[in-house]
Structures are given as C-alpha cells and as structure tokens.
Symmetry: C2
Subunit: 446 residues, 2 copies
C-alpha cells in the first residue's frame, strides 16, 4: 500500500469547499488559542535565550515573532513562534497525544506574511496539515510515544510539511517528496520534558516541515515511500505501525474535531479540581476568609504527579494541586499569572493552600474531581466534576477562548491590538491577507 | 553512569597539546579530502535545488559555500557544505559505518570564518568532535544502523555539537546541554538512500549540531542525561546500547586513526577490483586494444550490489563492476569524471566493458578482488588484491589525496586556488585564521 503517495494525493486534491463549516470554525478557535499562547510566552526566558542564540544568523525581515518587535526570515519565524506557543504547555491538544497547532500554524503564518496568503487558504492548509500530522501520529500511537518519542515533534513535522506544501502549491510528486523530507527529519525525545527542549520540538517541527516543503518545491528529492517502507518512519520509529489509519475515511472524519483547549495553565489532571473550585466560588460568592477547609477526592494519578504541598516557584505551583485549588478559590482563575513565582509566595494564597487536603479515589477519572468545601459558617459545599471544562464533552466556548486569550496577552499587547487579533481570528476566512494577524500581534515591550 | 555529563567534561577539558601528532595530521588529511568532495559537488543538481529553496531565507554573509560565490549565515553554510561533501559519497569513512568529516567540518569552518578561529583550534575541535560522534555511534552500532537509521546523520549531530561547542568555549554544563539538544534533533532514515535526502543528513547534522552549541552557549537547557536516560538517544533509537564505549579509553585511542579515504568514486565493494586493474594497467602499460578478456573473482556481495551489465547513466555506472573495471583499465582512474553519463556511453568504454566477466567466490572478502586479464598476445596477467587502496591496511598516501583533490576541483577552482587550498590544508595548524581555507575555496563558475 503506497501510503505516502496516497496521502500526498489527498493533500494536493483537497479543496477549501470540501471542509465542513464546523471544522473551519475549529481552525479559527485553534488560531486564537495558539496565537495567545505564543504571544503570552514571547518574553519567556526560553525565547530570550533562543533569540540571543539565533538572531545573528537570521535572514531578511519577512515575518514577525508574535508578541515581539523582531522580524526575521520565515524559517526562523516558524521556529521561534513554534517554540513560544508550547512554552506554557497551554496550547491545544488532540484527544490522543499530539499538540496540533504548534507545529503547523507557525509555518503557515510565516508563509502568509511572506507570500500574502488569504485567510481562507490559511485555514484550509491548516486543516489539511492537522489531518496529516494526526493521522501519521495515530498510525504509530501509543507505542511510538511510549518508547520515548515526543509525538508533537515527530509527527508534527508532517503537518507542517503538508500544510506549507499546500500553500506553496506543490504537485503530487513534490508533496510526496515533502512528506519524505519531513520523515527523515522527524525527531524529538520525551527525555527533554522539563527542559527548554520540550518546546524546541514543535518549533523545529514547524521549521523543518516548512523547509521540507520549500525543498520539495525546488525538486529536492526524497524516497517516495518514506512513511511505509521497511526503513521508513513507521517501522524504524515504532514497534507498531498501522498505515491504514493514515488514509481511512479521508474527508469524512476530521481530526481537528477532536481538538481540545486547556482553560487552566497547568497539567491535565488538575483541570477538574480547578474547574470545580471556580464553579463553587462563583455560585456561592466565596471569599478566602469564609473557607475553613477544602477536601479533594481525586484520581491516584493526581497525587502521583501534583502532590507538591509547599511549592516555592511558579513552575512548582503547576505541580501542586493544593496551589491550584487555592488560586481557583481565591481568584476564580488559574492562568499563567496564577502560576507566577509571586502568586505562589503570596501569603494569602499560602494560607488558603494549607487548608486543602487530598484523598485518592480509584473510582475517579484522571481529569475528574470531587470537591468538598467546609465554610466557617458551618455550611458544606460539594461539586463533582465529571467532565472538566476543556474536555471534548464540555469544550471551552468561544467566549472562554477569548477570555483565555486576553489573560495571556495582558501586558504584552495593547487593548486595541488584543481586540484586533481576536477580530482577525474569528473572521480569518474573510481576510485577504492572513499575514495581518502576525502584524497585529507584533509588539514592543509596553 | 552519567555518560552525557562525563563526555561533556572530557570534551571541555581536552587541550590541543593532548592530541598526538599523527592524529592531528589525520585531521589535515580529512580536511583536504572533505573540502575536495564539497567543492567537487558544489554545482551538482542537489546543491542547485537546495540553494534555490533556501537562499531567499539566508542571513548575513558570514561564511562561504565551498566551490561557489555565495556567502550566507553560518547555519546555512554548515547545511550546504555538509550536503555537498556527501553528494558523491566520496567522503571519508570510519572503519565502522559513520562518515566522520561531513557533519563536523562544515560547522567548524563556518564558525572559523565568522569568529576568526586559528587552524590549530579548528583541528583540535575536529578531533574532539569526531571522537564524540564515533563513540556515540559505536554505542548503538550496528543494531541502530540495521534497523534503518543513517548513522552519519543520527550520530553526526553529536560530533558537530561537540566540535562547535568546543570552539565556542562552552563550559561543562553548557556542553551537556549541547549534547542534549543534539540528541533530540538526531534523525535521518536509510530509506532515503538513492535520493538527494541521503546527503541532506550530514548537512542537517552539521547545521543542527552547530545550532545546538549556539543555543547551549546562551543557556538554552536540555536534559543532562540525554544519551543514557530511559527515554534518551541510546534506548529510544537502538535495541542495543552500550554507554561504556562512549567514554572508555578517552585520550588513549582516537577514532580518527580508523579513518579511511576512498580513492575511487563508487561503492566500497568495487574498490579492490579497480585497484587491481589500475595496478596491472600501469605495470604492463596496457591499452584497451591489447585486452581480449577480463575475469574477476569477487565476493558474492559484489554481484548482489554492482552487477549492472549495461549501465546507461553515470549513477548506474557506479553500480556496475563491469564499467568500473573498464574505466580502470582504460584511463587508470576512477574518479567522478569516469562515472559521468558521457563516460558510461563512450563506445570505447562500452567495448572494453563487454569483455569483463565476473564470478562469485565466497573465499574473497568484500573489498578484495582477484583480477585475471588475458591479452591478445596470449599472455595472462593476474593480481590478487588483499587490501584495496584506501583501506586501513593500505591507506591512501598524502600524495594520493592531493591527486584526488585535484581531480575533484578541476574545472571549479583555478590551478592557483587549488594549490592554495592544498597548501592551507597541509599547513592548517600554522594558519592564524582557518577561515582562509573557505575563502580560498570560493569560486565563480569558470
């Protein structure tokens, strides 16, 4: 079965009108969420260090770095925007393991700025790219991930190549080469989790995929069976490989429909607890001084991953369900600001955090939570969260995504810019030049 | 065992005076051979297509592309010179599988041009880089290669990172990060053999390794156990991993001492036959019209890989032991010119080729050959080649390497330039600015 060739043909033959309206709207939601993450992390140490290293080698000012003033060549723009969008680990997540936007949108937005691509074409290329990366990823998932590959990097490069190749108008032969050039650059180890290199992976995937498409457009050749061959991606990089999922039901199901957005700036297993705490806070108008004690019944995995009782830094706060519950009850929010060093050390947060107790319960799912709050006036409040906000069963609304975006870009974009980017994302299919989004998201330190 | 950290420390602590003189001379030999290969392939379609794709995105004119007039940023120079040096598959080969120079010298020469590095420092960094890449490669060889990884790419990136990091003066912590950033970019599939992507691998390894060192120099962090960790390079990318070979006898044995140079521009298994034919031709002053019949007794692998009786292109000629024997007898040479389309179609070559017969003999090694020539005057000549020219047992002399270099750069560099580059390579340890080599090897089409 010639999976690489078939996938190339499907990508090349896809037309914008083929894509159902709800899928296209999901692309707009992903764009808003992705750009917010990238802008929000644009002054993070990870980005500052990377820019100090690479700016002396950057090419012409073809594309912007979101949230910053620098303009660089499109390959570096794809790299840096890919890294920044994953720094907070707050970007979108396909229901099965890959972060779809971070490898694809950076490549597309850079190309859009350089070549003047319409928003409709951008959306179409994004949908096609997400199909490619998710399907290639699913053909080896979960064995490929379990052995130690960071699938957002290893599969993401296919998405960037497919999407960029679509915008560049590759023919079927060239698209097969682009997928092959992507395959032979596929990389990224899970061992890097916890270091800046975790975010390097989607950035390199975006850059390498874009490069693959550019090389293929000039007839730089690769194997044409790069995915399925005996010494190709599937067999070399996984103990299990099922090529059939790459092409099955193409055009009938869309992987983008399984895309999820995190409302809170920390790990998945804490989202249910935060959600339940915010619900109770808002319904009962709770203030910290009203609370006597908080009991959480959670999945054992929550204790395993996030039982840090006395975090001292923002990063440690992300691994403390105690801190997460405290900020949710205190502020009704759990964005990056609530996981800053300052917030973790805030005496009123620390006081509330000490009132939180946890208990493992194997009947509770990893993203679920059962929250009990005893108030000083004697009342006990309770909320069981079956489906945390942000799961497929209870997705974030468009308004939720806007709120998340505003919190992420606060202090980086002006209010006017913030509104402009939101408007451009929701109306992306109508804008003649999608590069306008990147230009609206450029910023000098305020 | 903290192999990554130990390797980093060894690299950082290495001093130029530690390296024995014969090893340093081997670095000069490798430099001459590598630059000849890069210059020779600098106008090949692979390079033309790549430059058409990437030049619009290149940064400041910091470093040259060997054999050409373009000057680009050091990351792109490392990429392109890494690709060109492998296009002819004529670059050096470590006794066990990796091509050492192609991933390392491009990164170093680009840095030398940019920062003004002395030749002695360049040689030292090269030796250290070759140690790193060969030892990392040997820790997973041959299983890693057998499953489908192109080890020149996957291990080469460590060599480029180590060597570039040495020139950049990284401390031990930064060097460990550089090795980690290299590990998480390690890539390259053997499925690409036969396409332009085979040469992409050392180019990307050079570029990615250089990038790893640059990022680390700005404190971009990675795992510090990237090679040995459960989800690190060794365990994820190979079924067998022996970390002890990475650090054993550091400073006592040098992998560069096991470096080999190919005298003839085709696969290893044909080198013995060519060698034997050239020896007989020169000793007996043979001309094509004197020859009635040629019989070759060779390893069965020669029939398997190179039994193309009637090649029609230069590339097919490389897979024809018949053509190889014919050009060796006809011209006494088997360089790139003898594997051109024109030479493969030359009627006098075709006539001689038809007189060549082969027979498999399991007692003959893969790089050996037993050549019998029957002359029209009734004499029969015979030569058994136990150790083909270019093997460790019978290395090419410095003069042989010069002859090879001259043939490769013919038509690209002027005679004066050719002499200059040869002089600079032999005297590399005395030149204050090693970038002079790259500048001497720049060329406009003649």
């Amino acid at each position: 079965m010639e999976v690489t060739r078939t996938l190339a043909r499907y990508i090349v033959q896809s037309k914008p009108g083929d894509i159902p309206v709800p899928v296209r709207h999901e692309a707009a939601r992903a764009l808003l969420n992705w750009s917010g993450c990238a802008i929000g992390a644009s002054r993070h140490e990870t980005i500052e260090n990377m820019l100090a290293a690479v700016l002396p080698f950057a090419g012409p000012a073809q594309a912007g770095i979101l949230g910053r003033s620098e303009r660089v060549d499109i390959l570096h723009a794809a790299l840096v925007n890919g890294v920044s969008s994953h720094v907070f680990d707050f970007d979108d997540t396909h229901a099965r393991a890959i972060h779809p936007s971070a490898p694809v949108y950076p490549a597309l937005l850079a190309l859009a700025e350089w070549k003047g691509i319409s928003g409709a074409d951008l959306v179409h290329a994004f949908v096609v790219g997400v199909e490619a990366e998710c399907r290639v990823g699913l053909s080896v998932f979960p064995e490929h991930y379990n052995v130690g590959w960071h699938i957002t990097g290893t599969a993401g490069v296919f998405g960037a190549a497919a999407a960029a190749g679509k915008l560049l108008g590759l023919n079927e032969q060239q698209m097969a080469w682009a997928l092959g050039i992507a395959a032979t650059q596929s990389s990224g180890l899970r061992e890097m989790f916890g270091s800046m290199c975790k975010s390097l992976h989607p950035g390199r995937a975006a850059q390498n995929g874009l490069m693959a498409a550019l090389l293929a457009s000039r007839n730089f050749t690769s194997s044409e069976q790069a995915i399925e061959a005996k010494r190709g991606f599937g067999h070399v990089m996984s103990t299990r490989f099922d090529p059939s999922v790459i092409t099955a039901e193409w055009g009938q199901r869309y992987e983008l429909s399984s895309n999820m957005y995190k409302p809170f700036a920390c790990g998945l297993v804490v989202q249910g607890t935060i959600d339940g705490c915010i619900q109770l806070r808002n319904e009962y108008k709770l203030a910290p001084e009203m609370i006597e004690r908080v009991d959480l019944r959670v999945s054992p995995i929550v204790l395993e991953l996030t039982a840090k009782e006395n975090p001292q830094t923002g990063l440690e706060g992300k691994f403390s369900v105690f801190h997460a519950a405290a900020v949710a009850l205190h502020f009704g929010m759990a964005g990056e600001a609530q996981f800053s060093d300052a917030c973790v050390l805030d005496p009123s947060v620390v006081a509330l955090r000490r009132k939180v107790k946890i208990e493992a319960d194997t009947s509770i799912g990893r993203v679920q939570s059962h929250v009990f709050i005893r108030l000083k006036d004697g009342r006990t409040l309770e909320r069981r969260v079956e489906h945390a906000l942000g799961t497929l069963e209870r997705p974030m609304s468009d308004a939720d995504l806007e709120t998340k975006f505003r919190a992420l870009v606060d202090g980086i974009l002006t209010r006017q810019q913030c509104n402009d980017v939101i408007r451009l994302c929701w109306g992306v299919e109508e804008i003649p030049d999608a590069g306008a989004i990147a230009r609206a998201a450029a910023a000098y330190p305020i």
